[in-house]
C-alpha cells in the first residue's frame, strides 16, 4: 500500500459528500423497514471524524483506524455504530506490528468484516450491511492476490458493492430491526447495505482519481 493516512481527510470528505447527497433516499429506506435514523446516526459519526481529520492524518494506519473505530463507536450509536466501530477497530488490530501493503490491507478489511459478523451474529443473506461488506472483502482479496491494476480493482469493488446492495432487495431480513417486519421487508433495499455501498464507492472513486494513471 503506497498511500499514507494523509489521504484520510479526503476520503472522509468523500464519504460525507455521498451520504449527504443520498440522505433523503437512505432515510426513506430506513423509514420503510427500520426506524429512520440511520443517516442521522452516520452523519453524527462522520462529522466527528471531520472534526478529527487533521489529527487522524498525522498518525499511522494502526492509530488512524483505531481512532476512526473508537470515534464511530462513541458517536454513531444504534446497530450501525457498534458494527462500523468494530470494523475499524478490528482492522487496526489486524495491522498492528506489520508493514502495511495491499495484501495486508485486504486481509485487515477481511478481518474487520469477520469481526462485524461475530459482533452482529450475522452472515451474508440476512439483508444487512454484510451483504455489501462480505463480497467487498472478497473482491479486495481477489484483486490483491491477482495483483490487478489499482483502477481495475477499484472499479471491481464498486461493481461488487452495487450488486451487493441490490441483492438485499429480495432478501427477508433476519437480523437487526428490520427482522421484526418479516415478510414486509421483501422488495425494500437495506439501509445499512446502501450506505456501506455508498461509502465504499465514494472511497474507491476518491482513490482512483488520486492514483497515478496505471
Amino acid at each position: 500500500m503506497n498511500v499514507s493516512p494523509e489521504i484520510l481527510p479526503r476520503l472522509i470528505q468523500a464519504v460525507a459528500d455521498t451520504i449527504e447527497k443520498n440522505a433523503e433516499e437512505v432515510t426513506q429506506l430506513d423509514q420503510a423497514i427500520g426506524d429512520g435514523d440511520h443517516v442521522v446516526n452516520l452523519q453524527r459519526g462522520i462529522h466527528a471524524l471531520q472534526a478529527q481529520s487533521a489529527e487522524i492524518a498525522q498518525t499511522d494506519w494502526v492509530g488512524a483506524l483505531q481512532k476512526i473505530g473508537m470515534t464511530l463507536m462513541s458517536t454513531v450509536g444504534g446497530a450501525s455504530g457498534s458494527l462500523y466501530g468494530t470494523l475499524f477497530v478490528a482492522m487496526s488490530k489486524s495491522l498492528r506490528d506489520k508493514p502495511v501493503d495491499r495484501q495486508r490491507f485486504a486481509d485487515a478489511f477481511a478481518q474487520g468484516v469477520e469481526s462485524v459478523k461475530l459482533r452482529g451474529r450475522a452472515d451474508a443473506g440476512e439483508k444487512t450491511m454484510l451483504d455489501v461488506l462480505i463480497p467487498a472483502a472478497q473482491s479486495l482479496q481477489k484483486s490483491a492476490a491477482a495483483s490487478e491494476g489499482l483502477k481495475e480493482s477499484l472499479a471491481e469493488i464498486v461493481r461488487t458493492a452495487e450488486a451487493g446492495v441490490e441483492a438485499t432487495r429480495n432478501m427477508l431480513a433476519t437480523k437487526g430491526r428490520a427482522s421484526f417486519l418479516g415478510e414486509r421487508t421483501l422488495g425494500h433495499l437495506d439501509a445499512g447495505a446502501k450506505t456501506a455501498q455508498l461509502m465504499i464507492s465514494a472511497i474507491a472513486e476518491a482513490l482512483a482519481s488520486s492514483a497515478a494513471p496505471t
Partner: protein
C-alpha cells in the same frame, strides 16, 4: 412537524438538562458522555443497576433512576441505542464493588453496544436481556423485542438489589421476571422523529398497526381500526397464548400508552383488560396505567401482564423514589 423544539441537534441535551434540573433532588446528569445517575449513590456493597437505550421513550429509562430502582441510565439519541463509552463511564461512576447489572432491551443496537461496554468493563457484571414482546414468535431470528415490561424488571430487580441481593441473584431474578412477563402493543398513528420532521409511516384513517415495537416502526401488520373491546381481546389473547395463566393466578396488569394517547382511553383499556382476565379467574393484584414506555408522540398502547408470586408482589411494593414511579417513601 408540530413540536416544541429549537433545533433537532440540541433537543436531547437540553431536554436531559431540564429533566435533571426538574428532578435535582433525585438525579444528576453527566454530560460527556451522557448518563444520568442517582444523586445519592448506592451504599457500598450494593449491586448497581444500569439501563439505557434510545431516547424518545420517556419516562423510560431516566424516570426510573433513584432509590429502589436504577442506579444509572445511558440515554442514546432518539430511537438510537447509546454507545459503549456511556455505559462504561456510567458503570465506573456508580459501581459499589458488588457488581453491575446491565438491563438491556433486546434490540440489535442495544445488545451490541452494551456487549462491547461489558467486555470493556473490568469488574464483575451481568446482563439481563428483556424480550417481553409477544407480537413476535418466540422463535424469531433475533428473539423478541424488549418493550413495556422492561420497567417491571427494573422495579423488581431494583428492590432486590436495594435489599442486598448479590449479582447472581439479581441476574436470576431479572430473567425470572422477564420470563413471567408478556406485552403486546398496537399503534393508531406513527410518530415523528424530530431529526426527520415527518411521520415514520402513514396510516389510513381506518387503519392501525398491530404488534408494534416502541421505535415508531410499523408492526407485524396493518389491520382495520377496531373497537377498544376487540383490540383488547386480541392483545390479551396473544398474552394468554404465551403465559397461559391459570385461574387463581395473581398478576400485575400494566396498560402503557405510547405518548399520544390520553389517560381516559388508557383507563378504558385497563377496564376492558381487567374484565378479560377477571373473567378467566385471575386476580389482578397490582396495576399500573399511564404513559411509561413511549414512542414520542405516537398514539397507541400496549398491555403487559406479569405473573406474580408473593416475592414479586413484595418487590413491586417495596419503596421506590424516582421521577416517574414513587411510593413508600
Amino acid at each position: 412537524m408540530k413540536k416544541f423544539i429549537n433545533v433537532p441537534d440540541s433537543l436531547l441535551e437540553d431536554s436531559l438538562k431540564g429533566f435533571a434540573k426538574a428532578h435535582a433532588d433525585i438525579v444528576e446528569l453527566n454530560l460527556q458522555p451522557h448518563f444520568i445517575k442517582r444523586l445519592q449513590p448506592a451504599k457500598p456493597g450494593k449491586v448497581v443497576l444500569i439501563s439505557g437505550g434510545g431516547s424518545g421513550h420517556e419516562p423510560l429509562h431516566s424516570g426510573f433512576v433513584g432509590l429502589g430502582m436504577l442506579d444509572a441510565v445511558c440515554p442514546g439519541q432518539i430511537f438510537t441505542s447509546p454507545t459503549p463509552d456511556q455505559m462504561l463511564a456510567a458503570a465506573q461512576a456508580v459501581d459499589q464493588g458488588a457488581g453491575v447489572l446491565f438491563i438491556v432491551k433486546n434490540y440489535a443496537g442495544d445488545v451490541m453496544n452494551f456487549e462491547i461496554a461489558a467486555e470493556m468493563f473490568e469488574a464483575p457484571n451481568a446482563t439481563v436481556l428483556v424480550n417481553d414482546d409477544v407480537s413476535l414468535p418466540k422463535t424469531h431470528s433475533i428473539g423478541r423485542r424488549g418493550v413495556a415490561g422492561t420497567l417491571i424488571v427494573e422495579k423488581m430487580v431494583g428492590a432486590a438489589a436495594e435489599a442486598g441481593a448479590d449479582l447472581a441473584a439479581c441476574k436470576a431474578l431479572g430473567d425470572r421476571v422477564n420470563e413471567a412477563t408478556a406485552s403486546i402493543g398496537v399503534a393508531l398513528t406513527s410518530c415523528t422523529v424530530p431529526a426527520l420532521g415527518k411521520p415514520t409511516f402513514e396510516l389510513g384513517e381506518n387503519e392501525m398497526e398491530m404488534g408494534v415495537g416502541i421505535h415508531g416502526e410499523r408492526g407485524r401488520e396493518t389491520v382495520p381500526l377496531q373497537s377498544a373491546s376487540e383490540i383488547v381481546e386480541q392483545l390479551a389473547h396473544a398474552i394468554d397464548e404465551e403465559l397461559n395463566p391459570q385461574p387463581g393466578q395473581s398478576v400485575l396488569l400494566h396498560v402503557n400508552g405510547f405518548g399520544g394517547t390520553p389517560l381516559i382511553e388508557l383507563h378504558l383499556l385497563y377496564q376492558l383488560a381487567a374484565q378479560h382476565w377477571e373473567k378467566r379467574g385471575l386476580k389482578i393484584a397490582r396495576s399500573l396505567v399511564g404513559n411509561f414506555t413511549t414512542s414520542l408522540d405516537m398514539a397507541g398502547a400496549s398491555l403487559t401482564l406479569t405473573m406474580l408470586d408473593e416475592e414479586l408482589i413484595r418487590l413491586w411494593d417495596a419503596p421506590v423514589n424516582t421521577a416517574a414511579l414513587r411510593w413508600g417513601c
